[in-house]
């Protein structure tokens, strides 16, 4: 085969392999899970802080919305990135995923609810969703700390 054909094939193989990130070992996967949880904590707590400050009458309504929209989008992308990583074929990795995924899901849907309730100016919905999200954020934070975050 000519040199350029070999190079072309190698590049194609590389490109295809990037479609799903390679399965890391347990330690790397755990570390990835921990950093994902940390990022999710940051976005959730941002949404919570903004909502609480708005409820105290200290935040402009026009400011709250972009903050919540950004947090919502960031949470979505954090979850997508984590899910795109192929977990190693161990039960430990599966347990990690089983614990983290629902938490990420819960956080994302809570922030979406916050965004909608904020737009509709529903103070009671904001309060109840906030307290739920606060619990989720705390559990995410504990997860991150337990797994090396």
């Amino acid at each position: 085969m000519t040199r350029s054909a070999v190079v072309g094939l190698a590049l194609a193989a590389l490109a295809l392999s990037g479609c799903v990130a390679p399965a890391p070992d347990d330690a790397a996967y755990e570390s990835k899970a921990a950093s994902t949880a940390k990022a999710a904590v940051s976005e959730s707590r941002t949404a919570l802080l903004a909502t609480r400050t708005a409820a105290d009458g200290r935040l402009l309504g026009t400011y709250l919305e972009p903050v919540l929209v950004d947090a919502e989008q960031a949470l979505g992308s954090v979850q997508t990135t984590f899910d795109s990583v192929q977990p190693p074929a161990t039960s430990a990795a599966d347990d990690l995923r089983a614990t983290l995924d629902p938490l990420l899901q819960s956080a994302a849907s809570d922030v979406t609810d916050l965004r909608i309730a904020a737009r509709r100016e529903r103070a009671d919905a904001l309060r109840s969703t906030s307290s739920h999200l606060s619990g989720v954020a705390d559990r995410l934070e504990t997860f991150a700390q337990e797994h090396g975050g």
Binding site: K38, L49, T53, R58, P66, V67, D70
Partner: protein, 409 residues
Amino acid sequence: MKRLLSVFLGVLTAIGGFVDIGDLVANSLAGARFGLSLVWVTLLGVVGICLFAEMSGRVAAVTHRGTFDLVRERLGPRAGLLNLVASVLVTVLTFTAEIGGVALALELATSVNYLLFVPVVGFAVWLVIWRMRFEVLENVFGLLGLALVVFAVALWKLNPAWGDLLHAIVVPHKPASEDLSTYLYYGVALFGAAMTPYEVFFFSSGAVEERWTAKDIPTSRINVFIGFPLGGLLSVAIAACAALVLMPQGIEVGTLGQVGLPVAVAVGKLGLAVAILGFFAATFGAALETGLSTGYSIAQYFGWQWGKFVRPQQAARFHVVVLLALIASIAGVLTTADPIKVTEYSIVFSAVALPLTYFPILVVANDPVYMGEHVNGRLSNVLGTVFLGVILVVAVAAIPLMLLTAAGQ
């Protein structure tokens, strides 16, 4: 009395004009993640920019020539061209970040998506450069930038333990959960944010725009040595607010909205509105400066007529270059690349380009043929050489650190 007022105005403008999107993002990000353990880098950067801004202002006042004019003359066309290309690329990247910053500030004020503001912002930037007189441009946006003092107010209202704060600044302690390489990477970013290259081109070209002579050197020194450090203190206040409000919550800064949250918590709606005004003024002012600096650099290298002190007709190529840079920056923002990420890259690449910018100024400021009796004194030279060493270390370390930490992950 009038003279005193004009000096006072100059200092205020220097304070308000000090912070740009790079400083806003870098200081808030570092404060939220590293507490006050990187403030020493900001302070170091402030000393550096004071040193080199004073030199470049003095050079312009004595020679009546802009930086790049002298860079090509002193270093030759080849080294000068390398310098020009690197500086223009970094400045246009910064220009893109600033325009993104203006749009983000408007998004926070109106809830309207920032991308929709970009064409309007671009047009406004161009219009101000086209029509507004240089002194008016500097003064208006410099004074409006003083709105960022609200961060100092917020810090005061947060009522921190001042002794602990000071201790954390003076005895930096990297948080245990962070790697040394990430700590150093953000140190590089903070340094690049404080010592942006375009600042020096703008300052020296501005001195020529305003027709400075050797008599204006003392005023320039007051502006630089009082105004810039106070502006630097604003950067520290931004970091401290993030450290006190965001860090305990585990919030990491990735949006401009997060940068302003501590002000809302501490001061409320009015403070937040002032902060948004500050964001707008700082980024819009910096957009004007980076746009003009692109024009200054290129025109000065080739010897074209440049500046706002002549009619646009007399400086056609200069204005076209600014317009092209603006179009490129608008296009850059409209790619929907995250403006905060663009900002982070712009400050790291600024750090890489720093030696190219500052070495020629040190050389020219030392040359008695250009400077006559105003040549660098012993202190300026010693400090300047020491800083050049620091700048070289930072520039060499920047890209490896960026790769090692995956841009700060």
